[in-house]
Symmetry: C2
Subunit: 346 residues, 2 copies
DNA sequence: CTGTTAGCGCTTTCAT
DNA sequence: ATGAAAGCGCTAACAG
């Protein structure tokens, strides 16, 4: 606290900064060139003689000039910003995708505007605010958007990537996988292992709902119609897994297998089961969803439906970049699929 | 793919959008008012008669007008954007803070520009790019910034919050805790339990380094000078924990306790130890760092140094908002502390 | 290779 | 309560 550099006291009002920032004209004046030459030196150095280039750079360094991209973007209609909307970040599900997406875009010189929509809580407003910043592309999680949002997005004429889900009618482009099939794959696995009494500990988010339909329909085809479920609020986390399984038992459901809508939930189920003296998988089989790494780290490790999350982020970034640069993308819809990874023998 | 709405084919060049967007003047013309009245209807509705307000709103809705904040920000010098820089997002350490930070800011009408600096990989460049977008405030992870970055930040005259660490000389404001003390607390705990042969499985990130100094100095004071350590690359994760502990054993280090720089690492150590037939904590005590929730979910659950991560994000957001709105903040430096949480009896 | 002119879309300022 | 003029800082478009 002691030697904090004295900062200029602010005005009482929420007013603009006092200190006038260095502008391109200041730099131009000092360097003895025109503003546009400074602009070129910074953005298209190859259009400028090495001599002036160096002079301009020196002045920029000396004056601490920071180009105002707001102004540049306004004029050039290129903001070099790409927006990304996720339901939430604490959900381990999305972190890898965000990271990969952001890394890829920064490598191409884009900044990322992050929107967290907290599942449903007015994605509309969020996106309206985002579009006002004129991003050059936008990444959306999921395919369920209000008609209003769809209209705005289409009217904006910027490339859009929807991710984490599959539909034949994306707004524009899409990178994801079928949650219905993922659910069905869970069912098939459990059926193959001979399970008939299967319980669900399941999150309430929209895509989890689709997976649930997938698993229940596949079970119904095998003649299993009663599938007890304990529903938990997002984000699916360990504690809810424990509670969910306890809830199933409390309700007197006697199951030989539990399927979970996420790996943290599944870990919770495993913990609760072990605490009650059940052996995994002899007494209770548990299958999760999402992250093989995550599932592999439990003990005993879980069977899970694994998703290449980072790949989704990267492909989405690349699709946006391609379209911004005027290249048509070969595939508008990319199905990255999933794979079932069985637990180690442990 | 089938019914994808036909989008206007893009030009080959990375050119601006073709479709001219609706501007405030278009809206004004249709509503039969001046542009400034539209602006007021949107931003200061109380300055406009209910009648014109309604008319303007109707036209906005009908035309799909999306205000261009780039232009507005340029003129008003208020971008309503706040930037946040984190080393990485896959590190479970930061997710809660990002979420809390973003939630708080959106509630106040700010958008968040996310920067991921990937530990060291040119934070300078990242921040230069960010400042060009004229954020009204900036959140930084950590206190180690290049002189150049410090200069730029100070010259920008925007409020800055550094987080996750403590120093008497922040750039501006700070919300964090002492990593040195956190390390020392680990040492004290293990010493109190009677341990003398203590090993480290430790991440290589800068703040972890400070915690290491804290623990080693505290151990040295107790006469323990040899503290074998296995160093792992960030992000500290389960697998590295396993490998780290295996590494210690391979090197012939016989320890009764292992301290880890993060909870995922600690979980890995626990798993590896259990696999080798060691009982936790009877044969091996393990202490982690970071997230009580996380640590509580292991089995047996871990002792850990718990941090209120969401609180850091929230306090940081509030500090920035306060300063942007012209309020002086009472405390420039906030120490949120940490607490040692012992494992359940399990 | 460099400069001039104009204007991106909005909001500040000053009138009325 | 509304409007006219001006300009935020930059770059597109067109010279030269």
């Amino acid at each position: 606290m002691a030697r904090t550099p004295p900062r200029p006291p602010r005005d009482a009002a929420p007013a603009p900064r006092a200190g006038k920032a260095v502008t391109i004209r200041d730099v131009a004046k000092v360097a003895g060139v025109s503003p546009i030459t400074v602009s070129r030196a910074l953005n298209n150095p190859e259009l400028v003689t090495p001599d002036t280039l160096e002079r301009v750079r020196a002045v920029v360094a000396r004056t601490g000039y920071v180009p105002n991209f707001l102004a540049g973007s306004l004029r050039s209609r290129r903001s070099r910003v790409i927006a990304a909307v996720f339901p939430q970040i604490t959900n381990s599900m999305f972190a890898d995708a965000i990271q990969a997406f952001t890394d890829r875009l920064r490598a191409e010189g884009y900044e990322v505007l992050l929107g967290l929509s907290s599942y449903e809580q007015r994605e509309d407003e969020l996106i309206a605010g985002i579009l006002g910043r004129r991003p050059e592309g936008i990444y959306l999680t999921g395919i369920n958007h209000s008609p209003q949002t769809r209209r705005r997005l289409i009217a904006s004429h910027i490339p859009v990537v929807e991710a984490w889900d599959l539909t034949p009618t994306p707004i524009d482009m899409l990178v994801g996988f079928s949650h219905e099939k993922a659910g069905a794959a869970m069912a098939r696995h459990l059926l193959a292992k001979g399970h008939r009494r299967i319980g669900l500990v399941w999150g309430k988010d929209p895509r989890a709902g689709v997976r649930r339909r997938g698993i229940e329909e596949a079970l119904a085809e095998a003649g299993i119609d009663a599938v007890p479920a304990s529903l938990e609020p997002p984000p699916g986390k360990f504690q809810f897994g424990r509670e969910g399984f306890a809830d199933l038992l409390r309700r007197g459901e006697r199951v030989s297998a539990v399927a979970c809508s996420s790996d943290p939930l599944a870990q919770g189920v495993v913990a609760e089961a072990q605490q009650r003296g059940l052996r995994i998988p002899e007494d209770l089989a548990v299958i999760g969803f999402g992250d093989f790494d995550f599932a592999a780290h439990t003990s005993p490790s879980l069977t899970t439906i694994a998703i290449e999350k980072a790949r989704i982020g990267q492909l989405a970034a690349e699709a946006l970049i391609a379209r911004i640069e005027g290249r048509e993308v070969a595939e508008r819809v990319v199905d990255v699929g999933f794979r079932l990874v069985e637990r180690e023998s442990t």
